[in-house]
């Protein structure tokens, strides 16, 4: 019964307000301890620097005929997946097209719309995305303005070395944007 409120004087009213406020703040601080720990762990991927990108050997010039038709090649590179390290993991794929005796163009196969892999259709001479029908010309630019993709296929840096091997600096870019923003 003693817990029941007495006729409140101004003083005890203020005191109980402070008590209440303290109770709220202290509980809040206590709850923060586990919540912060969880928060930091869950947002850890945001603070992790992406793996540094270096060129990888994809194929050799001999594998690229001079017919102007792009060929698809898997890209194998060292990859760290959380606690696993792979020496040679498939990290993506590129379309390579020979544009001259020793020049090659490389396009990431990932559709810039939402990330499906595009297919090159020999009949239409275009890249077609099987997901929402974006189409791209052979050089990667958008073939139809109605394509849901906001930009053309992403070109990648290629280098043809003296021994005829083709090296690509493989990168992925954020989907759904008009600009090429590398995925960190």
């Amino acid at each position: 019964m003693s817990m029941q409120s007495q006729p409140a004087s101004a003083k005890s009213g203020r005191r109980s307000f402070f008590k209440g406020a303290f109770a709220v703040v202290i509980t809040g601080i206590a709850a923060l301890v586990p919540s912060l720990a969880a928060f930091f762990v869950l947002t850890d991927p945001l603070r992790r620097a992406g793996e540094s990108i270096s060129s990888v050997r994809v194929t050799s010039l001999e594998a690229l005929p001079n017919d102007g038709v792009p060929r698809k090649f898997p890209v194998l590179a060292p990859r760290t997946d959380a606690w696993n390290k792979y020496a040679d993991a498939p990290i993506g794929a590129v379309y390579l097209r020979r544009t001259g005796e020793r020049s090659v163009e490389a396009l990431n196969v990932v559709c810039p719309h939402a990330g499906c892999f595009v297919d090159f259709s020999g009949e239409r001479g275009q890249f077609i995305c099987p997901c929402h029908n974006s189409s791209f010309k052979v050089d990667g630019s958008r073939a139809a303005l109605t394509s849901p993709a906001a930009r053309g296929l992403d070109s990648l840096e290629v280098e043809v070395r003296a021994d005829g091997s083709v090296w690509v600096r493989f990168e992925n870019f954020e989907a759904g944007r008009a600009e090429k923003i590398p995925v960190a």
Binding site: L42, T43, P45, L46, R48, G50, T59, S60, E62, A63, P65, R71, K72, P74, V75, R79, D81, A82, W83, N84, P90, I91, G92, A93, V109, H113, A114, G115, C116, F117, D119, G122, P130, C131, H132, N133, R142, L145, T146, S147, P148, A149, A150, R151, G164, S165, N172, E174, A175, G176, R177, A178, V183, A184
Partner: protein, 601 residues
């Protein structure tokens, strides 16, 4: 007994609870359509029971997720039933929820004082949809992997936070281990926890307001028990029966399809999956997205669905007037009809899309194959089932052939994968390469100059076709018989699996054939067979068509042991590093028909 129950009742008041639950008054009496709520609860109950059992069988990592699901599906008694139940309940739950929502809105049960409870229903629907989204990729098969990837990329277009949210959800810039642990934790922990909390509040509010009966009913009121309870029980049974039917339907009708839920080939980030589609109840959204040009997809994916959702959330206020109520019913019906329409456009689009159909078929075959390999005596290696497929000549051979060989060669007239090739055929058809039949064709004066052998290469004018056309063409029957033995001898070098029986059976002929090769027929003028000859000018036939021979040949056909300077266009796949030695081995094995085949039952 009674004493014990009294004791318990005094402390818990359960009698009152039971009384309230079972004898709650239903204004206007029991009806079938009141059972939709129970149907929802029953489906969620199934998901919890099967979900927990699945949880106890599942191992979320990129090397074990598919493997553990495959084990459950194919090697644990009743595993297919368990997966099937969980899968198909997820398939019908959206329908049940839609019916329930429809019933609540038509019956006016969303109006005061039940607004808050209505909102909880809506939240519950969203949680269920998120569960479906996060559950789709847990088996880590191609289908779920690629469909979820697209869904996550669409999330990524949300301004400002989209990309960050995506990175947190998938645990990094790329799909991997953390994607699985996170999706699994969300699917099996966070969302079910939220669901239970929502259900408890929902049940509390429901008890507070009781049944919302029909407004103008001439039927008398009735308690829940037993009339409505019986109807609800029948509905639950109908759901269980529907699920069981869906699970076994392919066996019932003998159609091709899995028992229970489908399990595709293991996820492979480097193997595109052209048959990627979301679950059917997201298909409308998928189709909707196609209508939005670049950069506008945020309208289709987020803004318009958001507006629709907001209107539904506001229904309790809109519905205060009779015309508002009618608007609500019409609006909801409209939403469902539009969604259905969009989904059916997507369905029929895919049904008429031959490349999609081909992709589905290829995916099925691959899934079937990897299952065979996982069941083979080798089993699933610790590195995961993905390596099984990557090292399998049966599936990889044709792909490699189509990509690297089919611009000149053919396989039974096609590119190895069964596709027609536009480019003219430059070199031999390699189906059955190494077999007696193939060799007999080469030595047939009618065939040797056809495109299936030397026809389109510069070797067409070489010594071999000349020999066949000038000498073999005039063979006497006795010489023809000798030639057969030589063919058997050379073909035996290939040691083809398909010819093992006849090679063993004709062992004597083969020995004789080798001697004829050297002395009688005149092959040894140019070729060597098991006897080194420095002056040989034509390919070495020792081990011709064997794995070793083919690998060496593919490494460099212009090697002096093979075509030397006569080589016409064929690249040195190994020496020039066009293909890895692994790929070369896969092509050789595939051409030789050498791959794992499960024992016939």
């Amino acid at each position: 007994m009674k004493g014990a129950l009294d004791w318990l009742d005094q402390r818990t008041g359960f009698r009152q609870l039971v009384e309230d639950l079972f004898f709650a008054n239903i204004p206007g009496g029991s009806r079938w359509r009141y059972a939709t709520g129970t149907a929802v609860i029953f489906c969620i109950f199934i998901q919890f029971v099967t979900g927990v059992a699945l949880w106890l069988s599942y191992s979320p990592s990129t090397q074990t997720a598919w493997e553990s699901v495959n084990y459950l599906q194919n090697h644990v008694a009743g595993g297919w039933m368990l997966r099937g139940l969980h899968h198909y309940t997820a398939q019908i739950l959206p329908v049940v929820l839609a019916l329930h929502l429809m019933q609540v809105v038509i019956g006016g049960a969303y109006k005061a004082p039940r607004e808050v409870n209505f909102w909880f229903t809506l939240l519950l629907i969203q949680v269920v949809l998120f569960m479906a989204l996060t559950g789709y990729q847990l088996p880590w098969d191609q289908k779920g992997f690629w469909a979820t990837k697209v869904a996550m990329n669409i999330l990524g277009i949300v301004p400002v936070i989209g990309q960050k949210l995506q990175t947190i959800l998938i645990g990094g810039p790329d799909y991997g281990q953390l994607t699985l642990t996170r999706f699994f934790g969300i699917h099996a922990g966070i969302l079910p926890g939220t669901l239970i909390a929502l259900l408890i509040i929902h049940a509390y509010l429901f008890r507070r307001h009781g049944f919302k009966g029909a407004q103008s009913s001439r039927k008398p009121d009735a308690p829940f028990w037993p009339d409505q309870a019986l109807r609800n029980a029948v509905v639950c049974l109908a759901i269980a029966a529907t699920l069981s039917f869906l699970i076994v339907r392919h066996r019932l009708f003998g159609t091709s399809g899995p028992l229970g839920a489908e399990l595709g080939a293991p996820a492979d980030p480097s193997e595109p999956y052209s048959a990627a589609r979301p679950e059917w109840y997201f298909l409308f959204l998928y189709q909707f997205l196609k209508y939005f040009p670049a950069q506008m997809e945020i309208m289709g994916a987020i803004i318009i669905p958001g507006i629709v959702m907001t209107i539904i959330f506001l229904m309790p206020f809109i519905g205060r007037s009779p015309s508002g109520h009618r608007f609500n019913i019409g609006f909801l019906a409209c939403v469902f009809v539009c969604a259905g329409l969009l989904a059916s456009i997507a369905f029929s689009g895919d049904a008429h899309n031959s490349s999609y159909q081909a992709a589905v078929k290829a995916a099925r075959l691959e899934a079937e194959r990897v299952k065979q390999l996982a069941d083979s005596p080798t089993g699933v290696p610790a590195g995961g089932a993905i390596t099984l497929l990557r090292n399998d000549p049966f599936t990889q051979g044709p792909k490699l052939f189509a990509k690297n060989c089919a611009s000149c060669h053919r396989y039974n007239g096609h590119d190895g994968l069964g596709n027609f090739v536009k480019d003219p055929q430059h070199a031999s058809d390699l189906a059955d390469f190494g077999s007696r039949a193939w060799l007999a064709g080469l030595l047939d004066p009618e065939c040797v100059s056809s495109t299936n052998y030397f026809g389109a290469t510069k070797l067409r004018d070489g010594k071999m076709p000349k020999f066949v056309k000038t000498k073999v063409a005039h063979y006497m029957p006795e010489q023809k018989a000798q030639l057969q033995k030589v063919i058997a001898a050379v073909s035996a070098e290939a040691q083809l699996k398909s010819q093992a029986l006849s090679d063993a059976h004709d062992a004597a002929d083969i020995v004789e054939g080798r001697a004829l090769f050297r002395d009688a027929i005149g092959c040894a003028d140019c070729h060597q067979l098991r006897e080194p000859d420095e002056n040989a000018t034509a390919p070495d036939l020792t081990g011709w068509g064997s794995r070793e021979w083919l690998v060496k040949f593919l490494n460099n056909p212009a090697h002096p042991n093979f075509y030397g300077d006569h080589n016409d266009h064929m690249p040195a796949f190994g020496e020039k590093q066009i293909l890895t030695s692994q790929s070369i081995g896969l092509i050789a094995d595939w051409l030789r028909g050498d791959w794992y085949e499960p024992a016939k039952p």
